[in-house]
Each structure stands twice: as structure tokens, then as C-alpha cells.
Symmetry: D2
Subunit: 342 residues, 4 copies
């Protein structure tokens, strides 16, 4: 039985507590939050769980094996390091830190102490993304030409992180999982429409060694909510609409065939192919429930999570690079160089 503490009971914390409470082999023993009113809610819902306004109580509690940190991003580094230094396994919300330097230190600390570090990139545990990864990794799409994401809606303006950190973070983790390849360069543009606030709209392009190109359009200022990804390959193409209730993922037997046949050289050398469309049934298990089980399993068997600190670090590097490029109005940043410089 893994005993879990949770720091932060704001927007996401309640989901963590609920899911860990329902995970076999796990038990939530303590919740910390600065706001006593939130702790009252915990007490009413979970009378057996201890509550405290001092997160240090959880660090000092020798009965706790692992701690989940669900606080604002600017406290992730400090709290995460404290958890690891207290010798406890760490579940950290995304993005894992404000800078790649911080993220790298967290990764190193966890490895040094042989503690599990899971970064909560929940999308990786959804049926939709896992099925897409299967299809892509099995080669069904052929060569992956592009990934194109539209992720916009009205509102949820953040005060201390920009829209890249809030929304494009999902695309960065999904891309890492789907492609298994890190981009070589990034070019982003975007703006903030309200002085003194973070950027609320951004367009990011990622370039890959293999020729794949990825794009994410993220905004807090759209009249309608859209969550849509297209992935185009040489053999098949995928659409993923997260707001579609029943057929989120569709695989199109559509593509372009390019011929080098010299006879056709003076004619159009591109042929089109359109075939059936197929929407696989997806499991309906809540992603967070699967992720909580996975974390407990990693802690019990000393395994690296699917969304470990290395993935979390790569995502932070992309947020950092995309934000820099955006502030340079699209200036291309080469990631390999940054890697060496670091």
C-alpha cells in the first residue's frame, strides 16, 4: 500500500485526491493547502484524510511514501526539490518547472536518490493519444509529414504563465510521445493584447531532423472552443477532435503519391488517393485514473514512468525556446545548440 500526500487543493488537486483514493494499492493520507477553507472541503469529503496548512508536515511524515505537487508553476521547483530531498517519490504537475535549468536539477536529484519522478502530462494516458501512438509507431501512417494542432477557447487567462506554457505544453508532450523525436529548431510568434499580462495567443512551428514539421495554434481569446489535431503521413492521415463525444479519432485512408517516373515528369507528378475512413473505439477509462495506477506501479516496482522527468524536461525546453522565439517575432532557435550551450 503506497501512502500518498497531496500539496495543493486548488483546480487540479481535487482530481488527484479523488483518483488516488480510488486506486488499488494507494491511500491518500494527508493534504496540504495554504487556504483553510479548501481543507474544510477535504475534511467533509474524506473524513479519514489529515489536513494541514504546512506542506512541511507532509515532508516530515515518515508514513508518507510519495507526494503529489499541484501548486502554481512558480513553486514547482522549490516544492519538488523539497519532496525529493525528503526521500519521497514525486508526482509533479506540468509544466514541471519554470526553466529548463530547474527541470534538469529535479531530474538529477530524482536519479541520484533513485526516486520516481512522474510529470503529470495527462494527455499521454488518454485512449485517444495512446491509440494514435500505436498507429503511428506501427508504421500505418507511413512517413509522418506534419502535426497540426488548434487549441483555442475564450478565457482561463493565467497571471504568471503564458499561453504556450498553459496550452502548447500539451502539444509538446503529445509530440514527444507520438514521434519519439526532439525538434531541431523552433519558430514562434504571438502577442499579449493586454499590457502587463502574459502572451494570450501564439503560433509555434517545430522543425524535425526527419523532415516532419509541427505547428500549434494556441489562444485564450477565441469565441469557440476547439481542440483539434491533424497528423498527416505518406500513407494515412489522422484527425483527433477532443470535443467530439463519440468518434474522437478518425483515420483516413487518404494521401498523396509522388512519382519520379520520368514519363510523368512534364505532367503533374502528384497523385491523390482517397479511401475509407475508420474511427476506432476508444477505451473510456479516465486518463488520470490510469496515470495514478501507473505511478503507484512505478513506485512499487522502481520503474521509470512513461512521462518521466526527461520527458518533462524536454517539454520545458520547448516552452522556453518557443517563448524566446515568440519574443523575437519568429526568430528561429536551434535546439541542438541550446542543448550544447546548457
Amino acid at each position: 500500500m503506497i501512502k500518498i500526500g497531496v500539496i495543493g487543493y486548488g483546480y487540479w488537486g481535487p482530481n488527484l485526491v479523488r483518483n488516488f483514493a480510488e486506486t488499488r494499492d494507494a491511500k491518500v493520507v494527508s493534504v496540504a493547502d495554504l487556504d483553510p477553507r479548501k481543507l474544510e472541503i477535504v475534511q467533509r469529503r474524506y473524513p479519514a484524510v489529515q489536513v494541514t496548512t504546512r506542506f512541511q508536515d507532509l515532508l516530515e511524515d515518515t508514513g508518507i511514501d510519495a507526494i503529489a505537487v499541484a501548486t502554481p508553476v512558480n513553486s514547482h521547483f522549490e516544492l519538488g526539490m523539497a519532496v525529493l530531498r525528503a526521500g519521497k517519490h514525486l508526482w509533479l504537475e506540468k509544466p514541471m518547472a519554470e526553466t529548463s535549468l530547474q527541470a534538469r536539477k529535479l531530474v538529477e536529484e530524482a536519479e541520484k536518490r533513485k526516486l520516481v519522478l512522474l510529470v503529470d502530462h495527462t494527455f499521454i494516458y488518454t485512449g485517444a493519444i495512446r491509440r494514435m501512438a500505436e498507429i503511428i509507431q506501427r508504421g500505418d501512417l507511413g512517413r509522418v509529414y506534419y502535426y497540426d494542432s488548434l487549441r483555442v477557447n475564450l478565457g482561463l487567462f493565467q497571471r504568471d504563465v503564458n499561453v504556450i506554457s498553459d496550452l502548447a505544453v500539451h502539444d509538446f508532450s503529445i509530440l514527444d510521445y507520438l514521434l519519439g523525436e526532439h525538434p531541431v529548431a523552433v519558430s514562434a510568434s504571438g502577442t499579449n493584447h493586454f499590457p502587463g499580462t502574459p502572451e494570450n495567443l501564439a503560433f509555434i512551428t517545430l522543425f524535425y531532423e526527419s523532415g516532419t514539421i509541427a505547428h500549434a495554434n494556441v489562444s485564450w481569446l477565441a469565441p469557440v472552443k476547439v481542440r483539434q489535431i491533424l497528423v498527416g503521413g505518406s500513407k494515412k492521415m489522422i484527425t483527433y477532435n477532443d470535443l467530439e463525444p463519440s468518434e474522437k479519432v478518425k483515420i483516413y485512408d487518404k494521401g498523396v503519391s509522388f512519382t519520379d517516373d520520368p514519363k510523368q515528369i512534364r505532367e503533374m507528378r502528384i497523385g491523390y488517393r482517397t479511401g475509407d475512413m475508420w474511427a476506432p473505439r476508444l477505451p473510456t477509462t479516465e486518463a488520470l485514473s490510469l496515470e495514478a495506477e501507473h505511478f503507484v506501479d512505478c513506485v512499487q516496482h522502481q520503474k521509470a514512468p512513461e512521462t518521466d522527468g526527461h520527458l518533462g524536461l524536454r517539454v520545458v525546453e520547448l516552452i522556453e525556446a518557443a517563448t524566446s522565439s515568440m519574443r523575437g517575432r519568429g526568430e528561429t532557435l536551434y535546439l541542438q545548440q541550446r542543448e550544447k550551450a546548457a
Copy 2:
């Protein structure tokens, strides 16, 4: 009665002939195409129209007042200049030329000779775009924050122009018409997935002095066809879905209000507002029919068309700048500087 000749009876030429044939005060007298089989089709459909494989016949025909050029882009400059030098009014397909230098020469030639030059940016004559322009120019949207266009589908690969010239050209003309402002900078990225062919996918960001930001995502390699524009303002927001049969344009009474109230400074300073949605009825007249009438009217009364050579030139400048930026992986180009340099 304005007598019209048409050069080029390929993809778009038949639409021009059909619409001019049905325009009051206009008459199609002659059609030129290099392919005699296409001329046979003209003869069968319009027994009274003359046909020829020599476009020079139209230039020399003193009975012709105006000539429409609907040929591949690489012949626009040569044919357009020849038409103007023959003293005839010119209707030119979009984009008006391969380079801004050529476009500028066409504009100067038309002005010198006091001839009408209309560039066929058909979207400007649709009920949807005209209604959107009315709404924006009346101030209903408040300050325009952004324009965001998704214009993708499978196929229609071009051999000699890239996807910016083929698809983003529409956004460039629509933006010019809606905003009445020329961007100061452009950053684009994109790629060609088939060696030796033009870029088939591009992401373009335009920056405006006023703070408006515009983005176009264009591709010939998407599994589904999308033609969608979002325009966000401080008071209202618009969606325009060109594939929606009945409610193409929707106006959302939605927005964000930003407060500088010092009492709220420590709290979130952004408020959300959501209200009704409204979809105006749009006229169903074919845009090209309206545009043909407008051209005839301009010729008869010596007026400048709504899509004149200046607009056409500004669009070519944007295609040129976006293509350069894309080939530099997003390198920002400042248009004012280009203007001076030119």
C-alpha cells in the same frame, strides 16, 4: 455595351465567360486559348463568340474594350502588359504577378494609360466578407485583436506556385479589405514534402502597427477540407466557416474585459463576457457575377475597382515576403523597410 475578350479557358476561364455573358452592358466577343479542344467547347456553348489560339488576335481587335487574363501566374505580367499597351482595360487573375516589381509595373502602366485594372480577388465580392467588413468598419467588434485562418484540404498541388501563392493569397486580400491596414512584419514557416516541388504547407504570421496579429495556416495535405476564419475583437468576435451551407458567418457577443482597477490588481484582472450569438442572412448572389458587374461599371465610369492594382500589389508583396521568411525558417521580414528598399 462593353465588349470583352478572355485569354485562357482552363479552370477559371469558363466561369469568367459565363458571368460576363450574363452581365448587363457586357458582351463576350472573343476567347483565346492555346488548346483547340477547349475552344471547341466554347463554340458549342456560345456559338456567337469568336475563338482563336492566338491571344494577339484579341489585342489587335479594335472592337474589344477590355480583356480578362486567366492563365498561369507566370504569364500574367507579359500578357497583362500587352493588354494595357494595346489600350484595353484589364481583368487579371490573382495573384496579379510573380514578383512585386512586375506588379508595380502593371499598376504604373494602367495608371499612365488611365485604364481600369481589376485583380480578381473574388472573396472580396462575397456576401460573407462584405458583411464582415461592414461589421468591423462600423466598430462593432471594437479593437481588432487578431485574424486567424485555417485553409487546408487534400490535393490541388500546383507545379509552379507554392501554397502561399495558391491559398494564403485569399487571406492576404481579405485582411487588406477587412482591416484597411498593411502589416509591418511577417514571419512564416513551411515546407515541401516532395523534393523538387513548391512548398505544400505553410504557417504565416503578420504583425500590424495597431497591435492586430494575423495568422494563416494553409496546406494541400490535409485529410479534411477546412475553410475557417476567426476574427477576435475587444467587443465581439466573428467566425466564418465557408463550408457551412446556411450560417457561414456568426457574430459572438463574447469577449474579455481588462481592468486596471487597483483593487483588483492582486486578483485576476481579466473578466469574461458571453452573450448571444447572431448569424446574419447573407445574399446568395454569386460573387463573380457581382464582380463582373463592378468591372463593367468601373470601365464605363472610369472608376477604380475595389480590388484594384494597388490591392493586388500589396498582396503580391505579402506573398513575396512570406515566401522569403518561410525559406529562412521563420526569419522576420519588416515590410516597411522592404518598401523603402524597393
Copy 3:
């Protein structure tokens, strides 16, 4: 403070407990269910609420003012009567009884004892239906020509009630609320595809004195879920799509105008009118929360609920008549005659 007991903690009971728990001036004091495992769940979630497997405990508890009955339909009459006879106000799930005779007795008992009887036709408390009623009753639609509902999905087969009682029940209550008119005749057809089970698919037509015609297509055997209502009037028409996240209700300025002008008599005498579409913003309050407050208000101030026993009875009469007609393969039943006979 109104003290409330809840009998039945199956599918709907938890929603009642949750909403009454959050209603000002109300307090859930006791929950009864035959299944002790369900009572354990209640205890964990609401430690202060008493639980029992004997519903009689609630009847005998003099501290309880009102009881909500959320059990299978076949126990509604017996339990409802027991609640009223114990002198407590009654919240009864829909349909209120298995037969109109039972429903009438419940209405009479409540009136005799001056107790509040609310039948839980939740739709009547949704923002969408209330807004539609406002629009219709204000005369904006003109004369109401028809109501047409499609309410289908896969599954949720019931063992003891048919699909009319399970799904068309919603249309019957909505129609009663929107039109304020009771139908004069009903014709229904339908079938059960599995021997020994209730009908799983039905088509019901209701005829009104005023000329309005209503139709409901209900099924447990459709591959997709649809919840859609059209209401057509002489001036405007409404669509209501309950699965649409943001624009559930749309009002179309569309219609038909019929002329008796003798000059047009030999021509088509029907003209079409199409104008703007408008989607009003709807409140996002949970309907059940509004309904719980309304019930408490009725109990406190001795008022008749909007969905009182009379409405509940009229709905049961329609279920009864439609089921009879369906079993006679569409045989028309005249409701006025039934009324008199009863």
C-alpha cells in the same frame, strides 16, 4: 429550514441528495435504500446524514418535512401515497405513476391534505426550455404549427417501462409547458424487437385543437445519440439541440407566408422568408438545483410547483394513451373521450 428525506439512492437519488444538500433553507436528514452498499456510499460522502434500509423510518421521523421518492416507477404510487398519508410534502420522480388512475389519486390525496406535490420533470427547469417557452408565449413564433422531437440513442433498455414512458415522457412534459394545451388525440406506433421486453422504439403523433401537431421519435436502439427538437411557427422557427455544447437553442427568422390574394391564386400561393438566425445565451445553472430551490420555496410558502401533480397526471395520461395506440398499430385515441370516461 426544510428537512428532507430521500427514498432510493440508485441512478437519480445521488443527484437529489447532492442538490438538496446545496440548497439554502434545505437539509437532507435521512436516506433510505434497500441496498446497504449504497447506504455506505451515502455515509462516506455525507457523514451527517442518517441512513436506513427501511423507508418507513423516514415516514415515522417527525423531524422530516418532505420526502423525495426516486425508486422504480412501479413503487411510485405506493410510496407516494405513504408519504402523503404521513403528512409530508412529496417530490416524486417521473413518470409519477404507472396509470392515470393512480396519478389522479396521488393528486387528490395531496390536495386534500394541502401538501406540496412536485413531479420531477427536470427539463422544465432547464434554461433552454424556459427560454423557448418565453419566446413562444410572447408570440414571437406566431401561430405554432408543429413540434417535432428526435430522442434516440443506444442502450439503457428498461425492464419494466417502455420507451414512451422512459423517453417520450420528456416531450409530453415539455409540450405541456410550451403550449399550455392538452392534445385531443394521439396516434402511436412502435415495437419491441426482443420478445418479452417492453417496446424499445416508438413514433408518437399528438393532435391539438388549435391545429398544432406534435411528433416524438424515441428509441433505445440507435447508433448515435440525438436529442433534437424543432418547433415551427408562422413567424419564426426554433431548433433545440441538447447535445450542442454552446448554442443549444437557435431561433430562425424563417417561415412561409400564405396569401389568399386572388391575383396569385393561379400561381404558387406560398412565399418563403429567410432572415437572420439568433442563438440566445442560456443560463448555465444546473436545472435540478433550480428545481430543488423551487420545491423548497413551494413548501415554505404553500405554493403549487410549476411541475405539479396535475401536469404529472396529464403526462401519465399521454403515456397511457400513446401506449394503447401503439399496441393497436397507430389506432387513434381521442383524449377528450378518455377524460370523460374516467
Copy 4:
């Protein structure tokens, strides 16, 4: 080369002329219409085709092999009989006649004279319906439980035929083709909202010996256009949305499994199954072009068309029965009895 005459150049006639003109082995030689202005249009478009206001000219023209009749329904019988008696093959618009008696006489006349009689139920020649028929007849759906059609829009009020004859006619022919079974009973309801005009809205239920039930909801008075069919079977289910541009037909691997297992008898005996969805690519050939070729082939090789007079007659019988039932407010009519009585 089959020589074809066309009587009637109103709404549908131009489509017939265009398609026959492009059919190999066919030639349109003459067009008759009472309105000389329509004949002018024919002459402009097809200078080689003869035109006349006297349909008798076509009957007397020994150079004509077959005649297509595309006139109002009330003239179908008279003109169709005249064509057959002139010894010419007959293409007749749907519905083939006003009464089943007339339809039967046309069938008998064609058979007696060994002439081809095709009734133009165009839907039967669409890729969508043909693919659905294949799937159903191959047994992929299992037992067919139901067919459910929604076919509504604003306008196109007819003066002399009701909405059953105008719209449900499509469902009747599609059902005949898909199921290969004639209903045993029909129950319909509907109304006209404008005195002195035909019924503009109707709901029709058809009952089949096999247990299949079919329903069509047809209306000229809906604010939105809908063309949607659901077909549910024991193994799979189909949706067909004719307005969807790319994925009209979807096959759902969804269903209900019914168990007679006595152990489960006290529990719910219905299980649900949901699996993948699949949208087959459909051919994009115009249905009318395929149908025109088929007619020419039938004439050349003395074959019975897929939509022959017998199918046309069965459809007219259903229109007749449904209209009678509707006028009796849903009174069930048994078709076998009608058959014998006739």
C-alpha cells in the same frame, strides 16, 4: 445509338437532357415543352436538338426510340400511356402515377408491348444507397430491426401533390430496394397548415412481416434542411447523412445482444456492444448519369431496369395507403388486403 426525346423542360428535364447528351450510345434528338421560352434555352444550349411545343411530334417521330417524361405528376398516366402506345420505351419521373390503378395499367401496357419502362427513382442509383444495399444484403447488419428517415426543409411547397408524394416517395423506393420486402401495414399522420393546400408535414410508419419497422418524417416546413437515415440491425447499424460532403455513410459496429440465459433472466437480459465505426469511400459518379446509361443498356438489350414499373407501382401503392391513413389520423391500413381487393 438510342435516340431519345424528352417531354418537359422544367425543374428536372434539363438534368435529363444533359445526362442523356453525355451518355455513350444515346442521343437527344427532340425536346417538347409547352413554354416556348424554355425551348429557347434548349436551342441555345443544344443547337442540334429539335424543339417543339407539341409533345405529339415526338410520338410521331419514327426516329425516336425512347421518350423521357418529366412533367407534373397529374400528366404522367396520359403521357406515359401515349408514349407506350406509340411503341416507344418510357422513362417516367416519380411518382409514376397519381393512383395505383393508373400505375398498374402502365406496367401492363409496357409488358404487353415488351417495352422498357423505367421509373426515375434516382436515389437507387446513388453510391450511398447501393453500398447500403450491399451491406444489408450481405447480412452484415444481421436482422434489420428498423429504418428511420428524417427528410425535412423549408419550402418547395407543391400545389398538387402532398409531402408524402414529394418526399416520402424517396424512402418508399429506398426501402423497397434495401429490404426487398413489401410492408404489410401502414399508419400515417400529418396535416396541412394552409387551407386548400396539400399536406405539408407527415409521419409515416410501415410494418413488415419480418418484424422490421420503418418510419419517415417528412416536412416542407422545417427551419433547417435534414436528409438523414438510420438503419439498425442486430449486428451493426448504419447512418446515412446525404448533406455530409465526405462521409455520407457510416457503419457502426454497435448493437444489443439479447440473452435467453435463464441465469440472467432476473437481471437485465440485454447487453450492449460498441466497436469501431467505418465510413466507406463512395463513388462520386452522378447517380443520374449511371441511371441514364442503365436505361440505354436496358433498351439495347431488352432488360428490366432496376427501378422498373413494378417497383414504381409498389411505391405508388404506399403513397396511396399512407395518404389514406394520414387522412384517417393514423388509422392502420393493411396492404395485403388492399392487394387482394384491387
